[in-house]
């Protein structure tokens, strides 16, 4: 048995395979092809949720994506897979599907939260804004935690998402969004005239409203068979791609449309290779929007009881799924389509209690037809209330002009207040939307991109006109358009005219506009009375249209009521903005593969494995993994770093410097180019020598630094900071291409090509001497700041004599492929001399002991070379370099600039915190006048005390003075010193 309300002979699913599923633990059966909604209705279940604010019992409003009420949690397995807020009207059932209702406790039929409904007089629109304002502290400690606990429809899963998500890019001549009559016709026309076509629809099957439009006839065929035949024709064409379960949710610049395809949510046991969802990013030459229209409900008291639903939904459940929404169905409609619903039901033998239409004179043919089959017709009447606790039991009807009220027993009530064209994507494409008074709707006006709207989303109200429009659009969209496509000759369908937005006359207190957020007509009126004038304000005050359904059924109602209250025409009150996504999209779909290790690439140096083998702890520096320190057994970080620092100055250390950026500047004008990009003079630097270079931005602030070796008259080997590698290259290319294009220079990034092994310490030369071939590395032949080319262990090398530790030092550049082998050989040789590998932490300490700056640590984009004590690096005779103008600006040369100094704490054991602020007088009132901050601070084992660098206002004039670093629990006394803590004369550099 697949449900007591499954009607024999109705719908398109029977005879089909029975599919077991459960809702709130109750086992039921549906038929293959059912949605959860249709299967529940076939089983007589209408109560599926509780509303957000008042916890009122709610059933199905719709049969599609616009559903505001029937949101459930789908549980896939015992652990991770729980998806909240799934629309039951779109979720297809599969064997063993487990659905659970939300926002209720302890059970759906008895929900304690429903007390809110009795209290509703105390929860008017704007309640939150007004009530929780005072006392101020209570928001954070009392109101917000409790509101958060009570709020939210579904519960977010706590486990990480176990599923995979796919991504596809696609290009086509024509993208057709929506596979109803209009979309199918447009796709067919475009495809037959030779265009490549993608047709996408959010439902499981194409056909749109033809699923229930029983009055449709196309060349003698009924609507649904025509749709099936058309889909078959399209499927057979090589230039057509058909996508079902694919929601176009965003329309971006230059005809790019994003779609979310649900790949496995309808499968009982998805293959593990399949992604759960797939993001499509489609670039179309032309987009045909055939997104249809969404039916509006009538606004009256008690219009939210389970069993009260849209006429189109009732028809869909019946005509397509064979499930009757009730046995005594009432119809309350101001639009023609409600009448069609009544006729469908009556013809199938279901009792139609009455058709209530506020219009005094609906189209005569509909009235005739209804009377002919024996339906009671109440024209000029309105429904003023309903009854029933968990399901509608009756409706109260009376003439609009006044008169006797009458109660009619119903177990379902279908309503229709007309259709709202789905303008979401058109509006996102930045097309202009205009109000058309004759149609009482907003419709597409001027297009911003190459797209066209056809059918119901264009305000077209009958099938014949829809198909004509769609065929024309499809043909026009094609590339060739040589042969006109054969069109259907005889088309007839139903009228979708009539309907009105808003709430006529007296609608009582509980006449709902927005079901999910419990916004009533009264709330909208109150918002206007309280001074809201723009629809955007009304929206935010009442939360109308702010739920997960984004007001698909409610926005126009709210707008019409606000306009009526304001006494203004609708377009003057305005339309709220349509924003992507059309329906909620999983984060996973947007993220795709870019998560976990694939979120960002990891860069490892050529010697990474050797560092791992040596027990290195790594730190992330940008995308790089850098060896931070090399702890031995029993050592913590401090012990390891102290040992590494001491060993470098006593014997030697080996350091992986491969991550530093390296750029080769080559060409006859290489020196001239270097003169312009760096502050230093380069023309006279002899080949074989090195120089520390400073690069500025045009504003005069330090941008990067590094040692530059001149390999030949026309060849410089430039090094940059690790983090600056890419931007320095960009900066150089920018000037070379756009400001100095006359210079004959070629720039190559060589960061990845050369692995760099720094060997630093008094024993460094002894370690390298037996390994290097063809280079005299004696102090006299190769002094500090020189570079030679030769080989090491048979591998070509660029050998730099340079130092970032203040000791005699070398940097061995070898081709990256040989990096690990050369590292291992040097480490083995070094071990004989007591050398150890050291990491970035020891490197930081060692350079700070010498007062060497790190760009980005001592500098922050507002530090000039002079501030950093590096004015010696500026070529005084130069007439131009990048930054020369900035350096002359009054504020950059004036007094009161922060200058780099050293700090010694009075208590040598205290290590300052980097970033700590410095004051002259610790007794002043808070907020104190801050005169600087600590940029670097370490424990120095070599000095046996803490050391620090700081930027202090006029710091160089404060040598020897005592300053203060106020911390939360104490004030630390410091003395201003020079920046060099070890070997002030620099004698160790030369061995």
């Amino acid at each position: 048995m697949t449900g007591a309300y499954r009607i024999a002979g109705a719908g398109r699913l029977m005879p089909g395979r029975a599919v077991p599923f459960s809702f709130d633990g109750r086992a039921m059966q549906g038929v293959e092809g059912d949605t959860l909604a249709s299967a529940l209705i076939a089983n007589g279940v209408h109560l599926v949720g509780r509303s957000f604010k008042y916890h009122r019992p709610r059933g199905f409003l719709s049969a599609g994506a616009e559903e505001p009420n029937a949101l459930v949690e789908i549980r896939r397995d015992a652990t991770g897979r729980r998806t909240p807020n799934v629309r039951a009207t779109q979720q297809e059932i599969y064997d063993g599907l487990e659905a659970v209702s939300q926002n209720r406790w302890p059970s759906l039929s008895f929900d304690v939260g429903a007390v809110n409904d009795l209290m509703s007089p105390f929860f008017p629109a704007g309640f939150y804004y007004k009530t929780f304002m005072w006392p101020r502290w209570a928001w954070k400690h009392l109101y917000e935690p409790n509101i958060r606990a009570a709020a939210g429809l579904g519960k977010a899963p706590k486990e990480p998402d176990p599923d995979r998500y796919g991504a596809r890019f696609a290009h086509c001549d024509v993208l057709v969004v929506g596979g109803g009559a209009a979309g199918l016709a447009a796709a067919l026309a475009a495809a037959e005239s030779g265009a490549s076509v993608i047709l996408a629809d959010e439902q499981a099957e194409f056909g749109g409203a033809l699923r229930y439009e029983t009055g449709a006839s196309i060349d003698g065929q009924a609507g649904w068979p025509w749709a099936k035949a058309t889909v078959a024709r399209l499927a057979a064409m090589k230039n057509v791609r058909l996508l079902t379960r694919a929601t176009a949710f965003g329309y971006y610049a230059q005809n790019m449309v994003a779609m979310a395809e649900r790949v496995t949510d309808h499968l009982a046991a998805p293959h593990s290779d399949l992604p759960r969802e797939r993001l499509w990013q489609v670039r179309a030459r032309r987009v045909v929007l055939a997104t249809g229209a969404i039916e509006r409900h009538m606004v009256f008291k008690g219009n939210d009881r389970p069993g009260v639903m849209l006429a189109s939904a009732g028809r869909t459940f019946f005509s397509h799924y064979g499930a009757a929404v009730g046995r005594r169905v009432g119809v309350y409609t101001s639009s023609d389509s409600g009448w069609q619903a009544a006729l469908d039901f009556k013809r199938a033998g279901i009792h139609v209690a009455a058709i209530v239409d506020p219009r005094p004179e609906p189209p005569a043919d509909l009235v005739e037809a209804a009377k002919a089959v024996g339906i009671e017709v109440l024209l000029g009447h309105e429904v003023i209330d309903t009854s029933g606790r968990l399901r509608v039991a009756s409706m109260s009807v009376r003439p609009i002009k006044g008169g006797r009220e009458r109660s009619i027993v119903v177990d379902a009530l279908l309503t229709s207040a007309g259709w709202t064209p789905s303008l979401h994507l058109f509006s996102q494409s930045r097309g202009r939307v205009e109000y058309v008074p004759e149609k009482r709707n907003f419709l597409p006006s001027k297009h911003a991109q190459d797209c066209v709207s056809v059918g119901a989303c264009n305000g077209t109200e009958n099938l014949e006109a829809t198909l004509a429009e769609a065929f024309a659009a499809g043909e026009h969209a094609s590339l060739k358009a040589a042969k006109p496509v054969a069109r259907p000759e005889k088309v007839s369908g139903e009228s979708w005219s009539g309907g009105a937005a808003g709430a006529a006359g007296h609608v009582g207190k509980k006449a709902f506009i927005d079901f999910q957020n419990d916004v009533t007509a009264k709330d909208i009126r109150q918002a206007v009375r309280e001074g809201m004038r723009s629809i955007e304000h009304v929206k935010r005050f009442t939360t109308n249209g702010m739920a997960t359904d984004q007001g698909k059924t409610s926005n126009l109602h709210g707008l019409a009521i606000a306009a009526e209250m304001l006494g203004k025409p609708i377009p003057e009150v305005g339309l709220t903005t349509f924003r992507a996504p059309y329906t909620p999209v999983s984060f996973g779909t947007i993220v795709g593969h870019a998560k976990g290790p694939l979120f960002d690439p990891t860069r490892r140096t050529a010697m990474h494995a050797a560092a791992v083998a040596a027990g290195a702890v790594f730190e992330d520096v940008g995308q790089w993994k850098r060896a931070w320190y090399f702890p031995r057994k029993g050592e913590d970080m401090h012990a390891a770093v102290d040992r590494e620092c001491l060993t470098v100055r006593k014997a030697a250390g080996i350091f992986d410097a491969s991550t530093l950026g390296k750029i080769e500047v080559v060409g006859p004008d290489a020196a001239a180019f270097m003169e312009l990009l760096y502050t230093n003079p380069w023309q006279k630097l002899e080949p074989g020598r090195c120089r520390y270079g400073i690069m500025l931005r045009e504003d005069g602030f330090i941008y990067d630094d590094g040692v530059v070796g001149r390999l030949a008259a026309d060849r410089f080997h430039v090094t940059t900071t690790t983090g600056g590698a890419a931007r320095v290259m960009n900066h150089m290319e920018d000037y070379l291409q756009t400001e100095f294009p006359h210079l004959k220079v070629w720039l190559s990034s060589i960061s990845e090509q050369w692995a760099v092994i720094a060997v630093q310490g008094p024993k460094s030369r002894d370690i390298l001497a037996p390994l290097v071939e063809g280079i005299d590395i004696s102090d006299s032949a190769m002094p500090h700041m020189s570079v030679r080319e030769g080989s090491i262990l048979g591998v070509p090398t660029r050998l730099f004599r340079m130092s970032f530790t203040g000791e005699r030092g070398f940097e061995v550049n070898v081709p990256a492929d040989f990096g690990q082998a050369v590292w291992e050989a040097i480490a083995a040789e070094g071990a004989k001399h007591g050398a150890v590998p050291y990491g970035t932490e020891a490197m930081h300490v060692l350079r700070a002991e010498k007062g060497y700056i790190i760009v980005g640590q001592e500098t922050d984009g507002t530090v000039t070379p002079d501030d950093a004590g590096l004015s010696w690096a500026i070529g005084k005779a130069k007439t131009d370099f990048v930054g020369i103008g900035g350096l002359k600006r009054p504020d950059l040369v004036g007094k009161g600039r922060k200058q780099l100094v050293g700090l010694r704490t009075r208590d040598p054991k205290i290590v300052l915190e980097e970033g700590a602020q410095i004051v002259a007088d610790p007794k002043q009132q808070v907020p104190m006048t801050m005169i600087g901050h600590v940029t670097s601070s370490y424990w120095s084992a070599n000095c046996n005390r803490s050391i620090a660098l700081a930027l202090v206002t006029d710091g160089r004039a404060k040598m020897g003075q005592t300053l203060y670093v106020p911390m939360p629990k104490r004030v630390i006394e410091v003395e201003v010193t020079g920046t060099v803590f070890i070997d002030e004369k620099g004698e160790r550099l030369n061995g």
Partner: protein, 123 residues
């Protein structure tokens, strides 16, 4: 994602391959060391930031790595044209209303023309 025509590669390519590089046609003074501070301010800090047509620099950083200029409508994100760095500012056809939806149904192919329609005498 925008499609941008690289005038060096002569191809429409996805925005991911490009990097924006600020306003175009701001020439670096050759005598920066001696210009008055007000001129430096104008050169370095002041940008036009209009609503509508902008001339801007782009770099095809993950492609040919060349810099070029583009004319773009900031309201619609429509590219009027792109041209190589160093070429003169192109003379644009009258644009009129640049508000949303001001551009009729122009086929995307025509949005990025291969060459500037005409050369102006801008610097």
């Amino acid at each position: 994602m925008l499609l941008i025509r690289c005038p060096w590669c002569e191809e429409d390519l996805p925005e991911l391959e490009f990097r924006h590089a600020g306003e175009a046609h701001i020439a670096r003074p050759t005598n920066l060391a001696s210009i008055p501070d007000a001129d430096f301010e104008k050169f370095f800090f002041i940008r036009s930031n209009p609503k509508g047509i902008v001339f801007e620099r782009w770099r095809h950083v993950h492609g040919c790595a060349r810099f070029f200029n583009a004319v773009r409508d900031t309201v619609s994100d429509r590219f009027v044209t792109t041209y190589k760095a160093g070429e003169a500012r192109p003379v644009l056809p009258a644009v009129g209303d640049t508000g949303p939806a001001a551009h009729g149904n122009v086929e995307p192919k025509k949005l990025n023309v291969r060459k500037p329609a005409a050369r102006g005498n801008g610097k």
